[in-house]
């Protein structure tokens, strides 16, 4: 368990965390500001990836694909908002869960009808397709480093947007007390649509970024959606800062757990038992973490102030 190995695993963890953050940021805004549970958020991540594959087929470049996919994700998000979600804001959470779950089923099936069941792939941009040897015998793709940098930039941008601009102020106010904001003469519906569209685009953006390293297939967003919910519960619902830090924590705990749990178990148990126990514990770690956070800090580690 050398220091380099630990450093590389930390990098791996950060990268997973960044990906989770991009998905969780939109989810936490929509949930926090609008009090709306959007299970379909994961499908929007999937759509981002599929639209990028389609965009690549048209333009032949990664950047063209990204542009098309971002616009496409935004359009689909706004359409869904106008057609379905808008009618659910005043309903209770169970109705929202049922309706958005239906959207998951519908869109998962729709991409299969359009693009087929076989997994697809999106090539990396040439500019970022190189790799750096960061450990003897292990190349680290530049793309993954770019992904970390991009994620950090998006986090910084979101921080400025939310804490320094007027729209951000309204969003924060909405997260704390939506009826009061409405009573003060702010068009809360428009604010909701703005937040929703932005969140959708972030999820789509995550899908585009993930497409070159992960497989593009129907249902690809469903696993990540669960992780994203874990992130926003740990971070505190509605808090961008919480989502960011919690995403990094979840990414690190999950990756380092997978990397080292079996080794640690081997210190205490026989090798064959450790092989059984290690992976089992590693896959439970983030849920244990979430349970712990819920027990000691029910509002999350970084709750929105005042609420």
């Amino acid at each position: 368990m050398s220091a380099t190995l630990f450093a590389v695993q930390t990098l791996n963890g950060l990268q997973l965390g960044i990906l989770l953050f991009l998905i969780a940021a939109g989810l936490t805004l929509v949930f926090g500001v609008m009090d709306f549970i959007n299970l379909a958020h994961g499908v929007q991540y999937m759509l981002g990836a599929y639209l990028a594959v389609a965009g690549y087929a048209i333009t032949g470049t990664f950047w063209g694909a990204m542009l098309i996919a971002l616009i496409g994700a935004l359009v689909v998000g706004l359409l869904l908002e106008a057609l379905i979600f808008r009618h659910l804001y005043d309903r209770d959470h169970l109705d929202q869960v049922l309706a958005t779950f239906g959207v998951i089923l519908f869109l998962n099936e729709a991409v299969k009808v359009i693009w087929g069941a076989a997994p697809l792939t999106l090539p990396m941009p040439d500019l970022l397709s190189g790799s750096i040897e960061i450990m003897d015998g292990l190349l680290y793709p530049v793309y993954r480093i770019a992904l970390i940098v991009t994620g950090l930039a998006v986090a910084a941008l979101l921080y400025v947007l939310v804490s320094k601009t007027r729209a951000g102020m309204l969003v924060r106010a909405g997260a704390t007390n939506a009826p009061m904001v409405s009573a003060l003469g702010v068009d809360i519906r428009r604010l909701f649509m703005l937040v929703f569209g932005f969140g959708t685009m972030l999820a789509g953006f995550a899908g585009i970024l993930a497409a070159p390293i992960l497989v593009v297939e129907p249902g690809m967003g469903d696993n990540l959606l669960i992780l994203a919910f874990v992130v926003i519960v740990i971070g505190g619902i509605g808090s961008i800062r919480g989502a960011f830090l919690a995403a990094l924590i979840v990414g690190l705990v999950d990756t380092l757990g997978r990397g080292f749990a079996t080794d640690i178990a081997k210190l205490l148990l026989s090798p064959s038992a450790a092989n059984d126990v290690g992976p089992a514990i590693a896959s439970m770690l983030i849920y244990i973490l979430m349970a712990g956070v819920l027990f000691f800090r029910p509002t999350g580690l970084f709750p929105v102030r005042g609420g």
Binding site: S2, L5, V8, Q9, N12, G13, Q15, L16, E109, K112, G116, A117, A118, P119, L120, T121, S131, E133, M135, D136, G137, L138, L139, Y140, P141, Y143, R144, I213, L214, V215, V216, E217, P218, G219, M220, N223, L224, T255, L256, R258, G259, T262, N275, G278, P279, A280, A282, S283
Partner: protein
């Protein structure tokens, strides 16, 4: 919905055929996983089977053949209900198909108990090859351990001393590692068990790079395999540490992994380039019909249809079930994998190869045989099978 369509088609077919022709028709219930991420496996198997039926002019063994394709959705309980419908409502003459072992274990007993002939198209779990074997069940695929064993033997023969093995943390993953170890006698440096459905393998890949084994063996079916293969190549390990696999690199995943998988190896009982007349005809016809390269699932589905066709001809129709079963057991057809005979448990005795991913001249990504690992491989469970 699917059921309604099937029922409508069935009704129409019965109506068209009329009462006179009905005695001379054959009805086959075909169960495959056709939804969710693994749908592509079922699609290959179904397309292969239907191609076999089509090539027989829609008449397997000279009987007007109706194939009722049913999606099991990879849900054992739902599959059971659908199979009961096929057996009792549709009164099928035969059952065929099934991609996944958990579905197989759920539907096997009811089909066998109804004394319906059942031709397996893929799943070959150990109980069915052993203690629970049945004279009504034949499979044109393999026993589940076969490809893992082949890779273990291949690793041993290649002189690899230190290996890392990796599989998802569930029963089939553990069985895979156990199968691999049956013939590999070197040192297993590390056993990595990942979460089922895991997407990012950077943690495991880092461990592999740090341990520098002579080679790795992995079983990562479906989308997991695509992710692993892409990330393995991106980490620069593809040319450095040999990648042996089972159900990870094949024509169902190659369209997504493309260049990333080139040179990676897998165990299989069939590949598109196997040199025999039946196979050449099959591969050409399949690609002309469907526009994509067939995987082993397609070859198995095709063989299943051809087996039924040949056995019906030999037995002189479906009337005498005992004669038909005896004919099936003789496997009187030209398999696309060349040599093919049934063992006493009705599982194939067949050659097993190491294959590797290549890019064909026409730009399609396919597997190609590297060498033969087992000649006339017999599965490990046949001695437990007592047929009566």
């Amino acid at each position: 919905m699917k059921r309604i369509i099937t029922a409508a088609v069935t009704a129409a077919a019965v109506g068209l055929c009329g009462a006179a022709a009905q005695a001379e028709s054959l009805k086959i219930g075909f169960l495959a996983t056709l939804s969710g991420p693994p749908a592509v496996l079922g699609q290959h198997m179904r397309d292969g089977f239907l191609l076999g039926v089509k090539q027989a002019g829609g008449k397997l063994g000279g009987l007007d053949t109706e194939v009722i394709v049913v999606d099991d959705e990879l849900k054992p309980d739902g599959a059971l209900t659908k199979v009961r419908g096929l057996l009792e409502r549709d009164q099928v003459d035969m059952m065929a198909g099934v991609v996944f072992s958990n579905v197989m274990m759920a539907v096997y007993k009811p089909i066998i108990d109804s004394e319906t002939i059942f031709i397996g198209g893929n799943a070959g779990p150990s109980p069915i090859a052993g203690r629970a074997c049945s004279p009504y069940f034949f499979t044109t695929s393999y026993q589940n351990d076969q490809n893992h064993e082949a890779m273990g033997k291949y690793a041993e023969d290649a002189g690899y001393k230190r290996m890392i093995v990796m599989a998802p943390n569930y029963q089939a993953g553990k069985d895979s590692i156990a199968g691999f170890k049956r013939h590999f006698k070197g040192e297993i440096v590390d056993e990595l068990y990942t979460k089922l459905g895991q997407l990012d393998f950077s943690s495991e890949i880092t461990r592999i790079a740090a341990a520098k084994p002579d080679a790795i063996f992995t079983f990562m079916p479906g989308g997991m395999g695509v992710n692993l293969v892409k990330q393995y190549a991106q980490a620069g390990l593809a040319g450095e540490i040999p990648f042996l696999s089972a159900f990870t690199v094949d024509e169902t995943t190659l369209p997504a992994t493309q260049d990333a998988a080139l040179g990676l190896q897998a165990g299989a009982q069939w590949a598109p380039n196997l040199d025999n007349a039946a196979n050449k005809e099959f591969v050409a016809a399949f690609e002309a019909e469907y526009g994509y390269a067939p995987a082993t699932y397609a070859a198995q589905g095709y063989d299943a249809a051809r087996l039924i066709d040949a056995a019906l001809k030999k037995a002189g129709g479906k009337g005498d079930k005992q004669a038909l079963m005896a004919a099936l057991k003789e496997a009187p057809f030209e398999s696309v994998r060349g040599d093919f005979t049934f063992n006493t448990n009705n599982f194939p005795i067949q050659d097993v190869y190491v294959v590797k991913a290549v890019k064909r001249d026409d730009g399609k990504y396919v597997t190609e045989t590297v060498e033969k690992v087992f000649e006339d491989k017999i599965d490990a469970y046949v001695d437990e099978c007592r047929m009566n």
